[in-house]
Symmetry: C2
């Protein structure tokens, strides 16, 4: 039952709706101040007068005034009554935005992003509720710099089961994502130079460049990275599903890279960026499981749940744990404790498995739609790297990639060509192709994006 009233001094137009009268009065006054209806300096009626006007108890109004004074909305000065507090005036937004905002493309098939509409909000909230109900108080104090024990235990179990990772919770360090893992490792823990795949994420190379870590490209062939050509002890690979070309590292090469790091005292950094998304058979286990003392395994929820969560993990050889903690800063947990506890509960309750399964089905369907569309409308273009992951590569005839990317842009379709991923120092022969991130668009937008892709592809 809303009530409104006019006071002789100020016209408050308060509407007291629902709930307790005191709380309703506080909310109404706060909103009036926040929206500027009550300007700074305005004198409020004495609480006795307002109480009489509103038919409320004096204590109710006095209590509401006191609360709002404590919150900083009002000020009470002896002899001067209660006034609306003066607030700092906001600055105008910058006159000239430095960068013109880039209009979103009509269709987006850039790689590396899971469909943002698929984040399991309800299940995540339910897990957060269960996790906060049982979390010990010390979770909200300064924590274990390796990350919450609940999460490390849940990860150790999940990674063993799903990815064949052999570890113990003591060797896991939670971080805020893959890029953070790279910053922790290089150069403080592992000085360069570092061998990397000749095609990979330019974003990762820019992190190495900024850190002064030299990267040496390793050529790729049909078996994956040519690890026989390794010239330095440390190497970063994507063994489950080479990024971006798409094949798994051949069994012989897995053995060879381990021989190499053992012989040289080096380390393999294993980027398991989409290890959960394999469609046609059981995923290849992580290389880490073959030699936990020579592999740093890095994973995150960026592809499986959302890159916006900022949660990742390093699974470390025992010899590197202390050095990584030192690089991290012993006082700095980086990842928020609520997210850590929630992910632990999400893993423990099987919600992570269920989500992965749901997304695997969805992405496989999208991949199949891509394959079918190409077979029908561009049979000369053969998709590769499609057994796993969130993207496919459409190989193109030499010299045609750049015009295909431009044709796509002409259709309002954002995607990258393979050239964007090539290490500038690589001497292997160039590959032409389009990298199609089929997981990126929301479900309803996918068919139109596929259509735009087919229209952009070069004719036979």
């Amino acid at each position: 039952m809303p009530e409104s009233w006019v006071n002789s001094g100020v016209d408050l137009h308060l509407e007291l709706t629902g709930g307790g009268k005191r709380a309703a009065l506080i909310t109404a006054l706060r909103d009036a101040v926040r929206t500027g209806r009550l300007a700074p300096g305005t004198r409020l009626p004495p609480y006795r007068a307002l109480a009489a006007d509103l038919g409320l108890a004096r204590n109710t109004v006095a209590g509401a005034y006191a609360e709002l004074v404590a919150e900083g909305w009002l000020t009470a000065v002896q002899g001067s009554g209660t006034r609306v507090a003066s607030r700092a005036e906001p600055l105008p937004p910058a006159r000239t935005p430095k960068k013109a905002p880039v209009p979103a493309p009509r269709h987006n098939l850039r790689q590396g992003r899971p469909d943002p509409t698929s984040f399991p909000r309800t299940e995540w909230l339910a897990a957060a509720r269960r996790a906060l109900n049982v979390a010990p108080h010390d979770a909200f104090g300064p924590g274990d710099p390796r990350g919450r024990p609940e999460l490390r235990a849940a990860l150790a179990g999940y990674l063993a089961r799903a990815r064949g990772v052999r570890t113990s919770p003591e060797r896991i360090v939670v971080c805020s994502g893959f890029a953070h893992a790279l910053r922790l490792l290089f150069p403080a823990v592992l000085p360069g130079p570092l061998a990397v795949e000749a095609y990979g994420l330019p974003f990762h190379r820019s992190i190495f460049d900024a850190a002064g870590v030299e990267t040496i490209p390793l050529a790729l062939d049909e078996k994956g990275a040519r690890v026989g050509e390794l010239a330095v002890p440390a190497v970063l690979l994507t063994p489950a599903h080479q990024f971006p070309t798409g094949g798994p590292l051949h069994h012989d090469r897995r053995a060879a890279v381990l021989d190499h790091v053992r012989a040289t005292g080096g380390v393999l950094v294993e980027d398991d960026y989409d290890g959960e998304f394999r469609y046609d058979r059981k995923p290849v286990g992580a290389v880490q499981g073959l030699d936990p003392e020579h592999v740093v395994y890095v994973g995150s929820v960026s592809k499986s749940l959302s890159p916006a969560l900022r949660l990742g993990w390093l699974v470390l050889p025992e010899a590197l744990v202390d050095a990584v903690l030192a690089a991290k800063g012993e006082r700095e947990a980086w990842a928020g404790v609520v997210d850590q506890l929630t992910l632990a509960e999400f893993l423990k309750a099987g919600a992570y498995d269920r989500h992965i399964r749901r997304m695997r089905q969805r992405y496989r369907r999208r991949r199949d739609l891509l394959v079918d569309a190409l077979a029908e409308r561009a049979p000369h273009v053969v998709p590769t790297g499609i057994a796993a992951g969130l993207h496919a590569v459409l190989r193109l005839p030499p010299g045609t990639e750049q015009s295909a990317v431009k044709a796509a842009a002409w259709q309002g379709l954002a995607l990258d060509g393979l050239a964007a991923f090539r290490h500038p120092a690589s001497t292997m022969s160039t590959m032409d192709g389009l990298v199609v991130g089929y997981a990126t668009p929301p479900e309803h937008a996918y068919p139109a994006a596929l259509d735009a892709l087919c229209r952009a592809l070069p004719p036979v």
Copy 2:
């Protein structure tokens, strides 16, 4: 209605409780595998047999098997039936822990930590639920590197009202806490050398040391940092409540430091670490409000909510926004999106104000108990810096600090002396005193900690 059964092949001892039969069967089988009751390699009964044994539809059991195969708990091999999947064996925990675990002190009055039992779990979860109900889908895609717009808008409003900060959401950059803010600023945005207060957090100095940023100590007197002695353009101060000695920066000094940074083209970095906790009058506004183009204002929820949340913010002069974003890494949000959206909602709904008010009352009561206990049991020890904050300083006669810290340790009481905070290069005369963090213990443990403190104090 639990059912249990024995199968001819394996003794599953399944207990199907509540809910749908399929979900219950999945849970029971998963638990049996997880706990090791069903060892890797164990062959499960054919789904027809299990369905008959349990009185379930065949489809129900077949569906449960398929789910668990998809999750990696079981494997299905043509001709070999369904078996418990082999999992990576966990590694044993490290044999020799590198560091012996430090036993927790019986009483803890170390500074800088809010009572971890006070984290408002219910309100935080309610805000998370409301925030996730309305968040746009793009929140779960790659986000604005400055942080979620909802949070920056809420912070701009809150900081204007509560701290007199003048800004716009475009000038706010969300980060993962104060230490992260320092790492972003120095040396990439602000090269050293940097003037700092002669007493301050050693943890901050270690960040500067690691980054190769020279710090030059500024002596303190009864008006705060002696900013007239500034010899370099950049300076880091705690104007609201000098850490750890406890006084606000004098009005003249606030004006003088702004004159200095304007004249030298320098920057004041304002560490507003406990700006919300002032007990005796309205808080001193932030210096930032006096000159937004020459002050970097840094705050976080570490004192107000929990250091485990890892949420902080920089309020920047317009000229520094792009440089900070470049240092941050344009692709890296650092703080998790769920926490960001939740804090935005928490601020918007007034829950942050209510929490601050509740904690302010609690901490003021603790401060009063400290003051009363000292007046009664150690009247020669005068607490200082008690008008605000989460700690007090008990000044001691010259030369007695070290023995007082030792006497406290003898009582099982952890706290620091002022010496722990002194810049090693400072030439100002030393101060003896104990830094008493009265916010740290849970409510029930505070009286005993106070008692231990009084017993540890040197006699007259």
